[in-house]
């Protein structure tokens, strides 16, 4: 008697590793089509200006240059990139034209596409294109956006695009009657996902068949296909978007960018395949930026340390256009600032300001890295003022298990509400404190040892996942008895092929080794959605569960027909079916593959949650911070593959540390991006943060999906900024150093120390 499959929960080694480790992956830059041309994009070097003329005649004379596509080639109206999320009509003025249309609004905006025999020749051609751009004043700060020496969108008349309002209870009343309030201004810096594989596309138009094929899809292929079809005036079915191996996404790759249209449009125009890959300098000025906010916020607390309310205004510098998901981060800043703590009264607004910088979009934990920096800093400030231990203050206010589901703030316009689903936040908090050794380590707070001041901090977080509306799975029992799984979920490196095979194996009882998972390409399922908001395991996995039930029904019916018995009497046992003592192999059970499709629908976000603690040491002379120990403890409801989940957690924490200390996209007053390469945009390396630990738990399953799991993988970075800033404040408490702005660069910490010492000197 076979034991039931139980692959869920096992640390299965990944199937995708077999090709990726040996350099046999196929990333889009590895795709080549016969007779292809290479595209290089001419981009604006001016942050704000009117395009008077484009003269490509010199460039087209260069040997090997085949065509230069300009906006006139695209028809009467240059198509614009729609909003995938929160597509409000009042945001239409801010949609980006897929090629600059008379005006440029950020350095890097695409102006023309050069097609040539080699990428080098195409790049040579750029210098030979004569552009006459009349420069306009560049808007690069909130002050300028509000003062308006220029506006980006003349029809709109201001640089303020929209204000999102998050509300709960009665904040004004709460603040009016509170024993204590504290108000501060915080800033989080512009930084970005910066995945390692630059973006690219290979597009091929078959005019006889009227079919367009595009390699390089990621994240939201089905939505992107609809947008592309509309822009090219093709039927959706005429387009196939193929996902190959993807070198990281983190929320940024796979949204619809201008190149998602320009490269296929070029291929259709010239009738030859077109291949484009961006270089890193280009990537830094074209892929979505993120996290750039300033926030004026206050907290209301009762004398005995109960959080009463949050009230405030944030300004999000969203760059020159609102792209497909540009509102998500700013909305989340307002809606999720309360985090895992009880706040009955909330009035938070985020205004999105357009500036002459690269447009922004989501990056892992959008809005949440920002909110947690702000909120955790406020909590430590409150603790100090009220003389309540900051660990105790948090315990006192974490949402209790008995309060679930706990409503968060509602948000408007494009109204939405959500509630925390399940969790024992206190248990996880206490476990973190214990595993970290807080009691012992806290004796080091503020101590100077070998020239370094030591500090500790703790913070709790929530992580939303499993955005709807649905996901599709198609299962095919092949005639050789193997199982092919086709999913709408997309791979960005998270181990989809392995995790989904684990789920499929348990759900179908078929052998794990005989299962192959295919993902992300539009030919795989009719209505896929993709990978975003940590949804694939919940949405794709649950779709597989539903499809598996249908497949088992199909198998039983096919077997019943062969056995001549009732379908209900058939048992499925790994590689064979049985009924009344007779058996048949699944291989060859049917003459044709057995195929089923299912959709899983979901309206409720899942909420993974956790607590992190850190021990750092600061060198006041240089501003250098050593991270001596960093522990994250997170409950995800149910773990499908502990190996891959743990890997996500560590990777996310290190991204958070990058955001806390190193990464910064910096513009000058003319809108020039000063950080245009990895020499200036600093990412964590192997020697920077060696001491990271993570524990993931299955304490409280999610009640809202059949797997009981919660979307996870973004969470690690969410509280890192707040925790690092609090730890530095703890280390330098003798000077009352209070960081209010990220990144915590050495120069900034040094300046805080200088300023604090100057204050102390005159005191």
């Amino acid at each position: 008697m076979r034991v039931r499959n139980s692959y869920i929960g096992q640390p299965m080694e990944r199937t995708e590793d077999m090709r990726l480790l040996r350099g046999r992956g196929t990333y889009v830059a590895d795709v080549n089509r016969p007779d292809q041309l290479y595209a290089v994009i001419l981009r604006s070097s001016v942050a704000h200006g009117k395009i008077n003329t484009i003269d490509t005649s010199r460039a087209t004379q260069l040997p090997g240059v085949r065509h230069i596509l300009i906006s006139a080639d695209l028809g009467v109206v240059v198509p614009k990139i729609p909003l995938r999320l929160q597509p409000l009509p009042q945001l239409e003025p801010f949609h980006q034209p897929m090629l600059a249309d008379g005006k440029v609004r950020y350095v890097g905006e695409p102006i023309a596409v050069v097609l040539a025999d080699t990428p080098s020749i195409a790049e040579d051609a750029l210098d030979h294109i004569d552009l006459d751009i009349e420069t306009l004043p560049a808007i690069t700060s909130r002050e300028q956006a509000e003062a308006m020496p220029a506006v980006l969108f003349e029809d709109h008349g201001s640089n303020s695009a929209i204000t999102w309002k998050a509300f709960k209870g009665d904040a004004n009343a709460a603040f009016a009657s509170a024993d204590y309030t504290r108000r501060e201004t915080f800033r989080v810096q512009r930084h970005a996902a910066m995945f390692m594989e630059p973006r690219g596309f290979v597009a091929e138009w078959n005019s006889d068949a009227g079919k367009l094929t595009v390699w390089g899809a990621a994240k939201t292929a089905w939505y992107n296909r609809r947008v592309l079809a509309a822009a090219l005036d093709l039927e959706v079915d005429a387009i196939e978007l193929i996902e190959v191996d993807v070198g990281g996404g983190f929320g940024s790759r796979g949204e619809f960018y201008p190149e998602d249209y320009l490269i296929p449009a070029a291929a259709k125009l010239v009738g030859r395949p077109v291949k484009w890959t961006e270089d890193r300098r280009e990537h830094m000025m074209t892929a979505n930026h993120a996290r750039d906010i300033e926030c004026d916020v206050e907290i209301a607390v009762s004398r005995d340390g109960r959080f009463l309310g949050l009230r405030g205004l944030a300004w999000a510098d969203i760059g020159a256009y609102i792209r497909t998901n540009g509102s998500v981060g700013p909305r989340n800043v307002a809606q999720y600032m309360s985090g895992p703590y009880t706040f009955e009264n909330i009035d938070l607004k985020t205004t999105m300001l357009t500036t002459n910088k690269t447009p922004s979009g989501t990056y892992r934990g959008p809005g949440r890295f920002e909110t947690d920096f702000i909120r955790e800093r406020l909590i430590d400030l409150v603790a100090k003022d009220l003389k309540i231990d900051r660990v105790e203050l948090r315990r006192r206010n974490l949402v209790a298990d008995s309060q679930m589901p706990y409503p968060l703030a509602s948000i408007t316009p494009y109204d939405s509400s959500t509630e925390l689903d399940s969790g024992d936040y206190h248990a996880v908090f206490d476990l973190c404190m214990k595993e970290f050794g807080w009691a012992e380590k806290s004796k080091l707070s503020g101590k100077l040892i070998d020239g370094y001041y030591h500090g500790l901090a703790v913070g709790s977080f929530i992580e939303g996942g499993a955005a709807g509306p649905s996901e599709d799975a198609r299962l095919v029992l092949e005639t050789d008895g193997s199982l092919s799984v086709y999913l709408g979920s997309s791979s960005v490196g998270q181990g989809l092929e392995t995790i989904m095979a684990q789920i499929a194996a348990d759900a179908t009882e078929l052998p794990y080794e005989k299962i192959t998972v295919n993902h992300g390409s539009t030919s795989h399922v009719k209505n896929g959605h993709g990978a975003y908001h940590s949804r694939s395991t919940v949405m794709g996995g649950s779709a597989i569960l539903l499809a598996a039930e249908k497949l088992k029904d199909s198998i039983r019916e096919a077997a019943a027909a062969r056995f001549g018995c009732a379908a209900g009497d058939v048992t499925i046992d790994g590689e064979q079916v049985a009924c009344a003592g007779k058996t048949l192999l699944l291989a060859g059970l049917s003459d044709v593959p057995l195929e089923v499709e299912a959709s899983f629908f979901n309206k409720k976000y899942t909420w993974a949650y956790g607590t992190q603690a850190a021990h750092i040491a600061v060198d006041p002379g240089t501003g250098h911070v050593k991270v001596i120990d960093y522990l994250s403890v997170e409950d995800v409801g149910r773990i499908i593959n502990p190996l891959t989940l743990h890997g996500q957690a560590i990777g996310s924490i290190v991204q958070g540390l990058g955001g806390a200390f190193l990464e910064h996209l910096v513009y000058d007053e003319n809108g020039q991006l000063l950080t245009g390469s990895f020499a200036d945009y600093l990412m964590p390396t192997a020697s920077d943060f060696p001491n990271i630990r993570s524990i993931t738990l299955e304490l409280k399953p999610c009640p809202n999906n059949p797997l009981g799991t919660k979307g996870a993988g973004e969470g690690g970075l969410i509280p890192v900024g707040g925790i690092m800033a609090n730890a530095i404040a703890d280390a330098l408490s003798h000077l009352n150093v209070q960081p209010m702005e990220l990144p915590l660069s050495p120069a900034r910490i040094w300046q805080l120390v200088e300023d604090a010492e100057a204050i102390r000197a005159v005191a």
């Binding site: 080098s120 390692m196 991204q655 990895f678 192997a686 060696p690």
Partner: protein, 158 residues
Amino acid sequence: MQIEFELNGADVGANVEARTSLADCLRDNLGKTGTHLGCEHGVCGACTVLVNGEAVRACLMLAVQANGEKVVTIEGLSGDDLSPLQASFRKHHALQCGFCTPGFITTAHALLTSEPDANEERIRDVLSGNLCRCTGYVPIVEAVLDARKFYAGQKEKA
């Protein structure tokens, strides 16, 4: 310009422009797409190959400079089964998207071949020249530490 060199143990030739990088020559002329381009300005390490046994950024070398040399790419370090180093990466889940991985494998292989006793600090120091955005490096370092035993007993760097 016509160049000739040894690639993964076999003699190869290519006709390249002087300005063609070794990375582009390997990928485009010789079909070895396992060497990846993450930045083209010598910081990310995804393009690391071995030239005469030494780890080198292929984007910072001209193809013409490889004339007459011995080059080994990730393909040359891979066979029908995973090598012990690759198996260690898999065991420790030291890759997610896999884009940086060939660069890490070639670098770690070069390091462990010449320094099979490298300690964690040395490993982290050497690997600090390769960027990974997915893993946070912890499992990569664990994988390399765990792979040392397969390199012990080898003396010299090639």
